[in-house]
C-alpha cells in the first residue's frame, strides 16, 4: 500500500540530497557523439543493405518478403539458364529496417549494413541502385541473421559496463582487436562506481 505519512519537508530535503550527490560524485553518462562512439551491436540492422552480386540468383524472395515493397528487381535469363538481376534497387527512404529480406534470402546474398549515418539532402539519393549496394567503404555487412559475420565483428559496448565491451572474456577466446573496439569509449566511466550504486 502507498504510505500516508505526514510530510514536513523531509521528502524535498531527501530529493535535494540525491541531486547534489549526483552533482558531486556521479560520472557523466552522455557520450560525446561525433568524437566518441559506442560500438554498435554485432547484429545491428543498420542503415544500408549490402548486396552480394555473386551470390544473388535473382530469385526475388527478398522483394516478396518486404512488407513495404521497397525492393525493386528486374531480372534477365543468362545464356546458361541462370538468372541475373539487371535492376536491384532499394528505397531506403521508405525502408523500416525490419530485416525480413535478409532473413528470407536463401543464398545469404543480402545483408543488413552496419553504418548508421546516412542522412542525405534529397530523397532521390535514398533510392540506391545495385552498383552502390555492394560492400564498399563503410558499407559493410552486419551479423544480423548471418552468424558467419557475427563472429568476426567487434563486441558491442554496453552502457551497463560503463560503455565497455560486452565480450565474455575466456582464456581461449580473447576479444578480437579491431579499430572499432579501440575506438574511444570515454574513460570517465567507472564501473566500480556503478557497482556501488546497485548493491543496496
Amino acid at each position: 500500500m502507498p504510505d500516508n505519512r505526514i510530510s514536513l519537508g523531509q521528502g524535498i530535503l531527501k530529493g535535494l540530497a540525491l541531486t547534489i550527490k549526483h552533482f558531486i560524485s556521479r560520472p557523466i553518462i552522455t557520450v560525446q557523439y561525433p568524437e566518441e562512439r559506442l560500438v554498435t551491436s554485432r547484429r545491428i540492422r543498420g542503415c544500408d543493405l549490402v548486396w552480394d552480386s555473386e551470390r544473388c540468383t535473382a530469385c526475388c524472395t527478398c522483394a516478396k518478403s518486404c512488407p513495404q515493397g521497397n525492393i525493386h528487381i528486374e531480372t534477365k535469363v543468362r545464356p546458361d539458364n541462370t538468372r541475373e538481376a539487371v535492376v536491384f534497387e532499394i528505397d531506403h527512404g521508405r525502408s523500416m529496417f525490419c530485416g525480413l529480406c535478409v532473413e528470407s534470402c536463401p543464398f545469404d546474398a543480402i545483408h543488413m549494413g552496419r553504418s548508421y549515418e546516412r542522412a542525405t539532402y534529397n530523397r532521390d539519393s535514398l533510392v540506391i541502385p545495385k552498383e552502390k549496394l555492394v560492400a564498399q567503404g563503410d558499407r559493410q555487412p552486419s551479423g544480423y541473421f548471418r552468424p558467419q559475420f557475427e563472429e568476426t565483428l567487434p563486441p558491442q559496448s554496453l552502457l551497463i559496463y560503463g560503455g565497455k565491451s560486452s565480450e565474455v572474456k575466456t582464456p581461449e577466446n580473447p576479444p578480437p582487436q579491431s579499430p572499432a573496439t579501440a575506438a574511444p569509449v570515454s574513460e570517465k566511466k567507472e564501473p566500480a562506481e556503478r557497482e556501488k550504486v546497485g548493491v543496496k
Binding site: I6, S7, L8, G9, I12, G15, L16, L18, T19, I20, H22, F23, R26, P27, I28, I29, T30, Q32
Partner: protein
C-alpha cells in the same frame, strides 16, 4: 563630477548585468546539465563558453513576428517594461563598501546612488516587471498567454507581502533602509540572525522571479510558455534576459541583505566586490539546485503556500525580531542559536499545521 559618476556607473552596471546575465545563462545550462549527469552545451568555443553569444546571434537573426491580431503598441512595449526594472534595481546595489578593500580602497560606497530608502526602492521597482508581463499576456491575444498573465498577477502580488515582511526584519536589525548601511551593520551575516527571514525571503523571491518550483508563469508543460508564447526574435530575448537579470538581481539582493554583501564573513579578509560575486554565484547555484530537483506546484497550492504558510511565518518572524531588538546588545551568539532553533521549530510546526488545515488547498 556628478555626471561623470553617473556615466561611469551606468557603464559599470550595464557591463555587470549583461556579462553576468550571459554567464548565468551558460552557468545554468552547464550546472543543470551536471545535475542531470550530462555535460550541457560544450560545442561553441572552449567548454562552450561562447554558447550565449551563439544564442544571441541566432536570436537576433530570427524573424520578428508580430501576430496580426495583437495590440501592437502594448505588445512591443511589454518586453522593455519587463526588462528595464531588473536593471534599475542595480542602481542602489553597493558593490563595495567605503573603506579598505582587498584590491583598492574607496572613499565612498561603490554604488550608483546610495539611497536612504534603498530597500523600498528595490521592492517598488521590482514590482513593475509584473506590469510588463501582464501587458504581454493581454496584448498577445492568446489564451495561454492570458492564463499565464492571470497566474502572474496572482503570484507576484501574493509573494510580495511575505517577502517584504521578511526583509523588514533585516531593516529592524540594521536600523536603516540604505543597503550600504545594512552591509555595514553585518558584522556577522544576517542569515545567522535571521534564518527564518532568509527562508521566507528566498522562497518568496524564487516565486517572484518565476523559478522552479514556482515557475507557473512559464509552465512549459501546462501553458506552453505562458506570456512568451507569441514573442519571437529579439522581443523574446528581452523577456529571457529580463528573467535572468531578475535572477541576478535576486541573487545580488540576497547576498547584500543576508550574506554580508562585499564583506568577507567576520571580516577575516578585507572586503571586496569579489566576495559579492562569489556570494551571488552561490545563491544562484542554490536556485539551480532547487530547480533541477523539484516539480512545479499547482496554482492554488502556490497561493495557499503564500497566504497560509509564508505570511503567518513572516509575521511571527517580525514579532520575534522586534522582541529580540529589546534585549541588551552583546548576546550575538546566543541569539543566533536561539534564532536557528526557533526557525527550524517554527517551520516544522507550521508545516505540520499547514498540512492539517488542508495543506495548500484554497477552498
Amino acid at each position: 563630477m556628478d555626471w561623470l559618476h553617473w556615466i561611469i556607473y551606468v557603464v559599470i552596471i550595464l557591463a555587470f548585468v549583461l556579462t553576468l546575465v550571459m554567464s548565468f545563462i551558460l552557468i545554468e545550462r552547464r550546472v543543470v546539465g551536471r545535475f542531470q549527469l550530462r555535460l550541457g552545451p560544450n560545442r561553441v568555443g572552449p567548454q562552450g563558453i561562447l554558447q550565449p553569444v551563439a544564442d544571441a546571434v541566432k536570436i537576433l537573426l530570427k524573424e520578428d513576428i508580430i501576430p496580426s491580431k495583437v495590440d501592437r503598441v502594448v505588445h512591443l512595449l511589454a518586453p522593455i517594461v519587463t526588462f528595464a526594472p531588473a536593471v534599475l534595481i542595480f542602481a542602489v546595489i553597493p558593490f563595495q563598501q567605503a573603506g579598505n578593500g582587498l584590491f583598492f580602497d574607496l572613499k565612498s560606497t561603490a554604488s550608483m546612488v546610495d539611497l536612504d530608502v534603498g530597500v523600498l526602492f528595490i521592492f517598488a521597482i521590482s514590482s513593475i516587471s509584473v506590469v510588463g508581463l501582464v501587458m504581454a499576456g493581454w496584448a498577445s491575444n492568446n489564451k495561454y498567454a492570458l492564463l499565464g498573465a492571470m497566474r502572474t498577477i496572482a503570484q507576484m502580488v501574493s509573494y510580495e507581502i511575505p517577502m517584504v515582511l521578511a526583509v523588514l526584519g533585516i531593516v529592524l536589525i540594521a536600523g536603516s533602509l540604505s543597503l550600504a548601511d545594512i552591509v555595514d551593520k553585518q558584522n556577522i551575516p544576517f542569515i545567522l540572525l535571521q534564518p527564518l527571514g532568509f527562508f521566507i525571503y528566498f522562497l518568496g523571491a524564487t516565486a517572484e522571479m518565476n523559478r522552479s518550483p514556482f515557475d507557473l508563469l512559464e509552465a512549459e508543460s501546462e501553458i506552453v510558455a505562458g506570456v512568451n508564447i507569441e514573442y519571437s526574435g529579439m522581443k523574446f530575448a528581452m523577456f529571457f534576459l529580463g528573467e535572468y537579470a531578475y535572477a541576478l538581481a535576486v541573487s545580488t539582493i540576497t547576498s547584500v541583505l543576508f550574506l554580508g554583501g562585499a564583506k568577507f564573513p567576520w571580516g577575516l579578509l578585507p572586503q571586496s566586490f569579489i566576495w559579492l560575486l562569489v556570494k551571488i554565484l552561490l545563491v544562484f547555484f542554490v536556485i539551480l539546485w532547487i530547480r533541477s530537483t523539484l516539480p512545479r506546484v499547482r496554482v492554488d497550492q502556490l497561493m495557499g503556500f503564500a497566504w497560509k504558510f509564508l505570511l503567518p511565518l513572516s509575521l511571527i518572524n517580525l514579532f520575534l525580531v522586534a522582541a529580540e531588538g529589546m534585549l541588551p546588545s552583546g548576546f550575538t551568539w546566543p541569539i543566533v542559536a536561539l534564532n536557528v532553533t526557533l526557525a527550524v521549530a517554527l517551520v516544522v510546526i507550521w508545516a505540520n499545521r499547514f498540512y492539517r488545515v488542508g495543506g495548500a488547498k484554497v477552498a
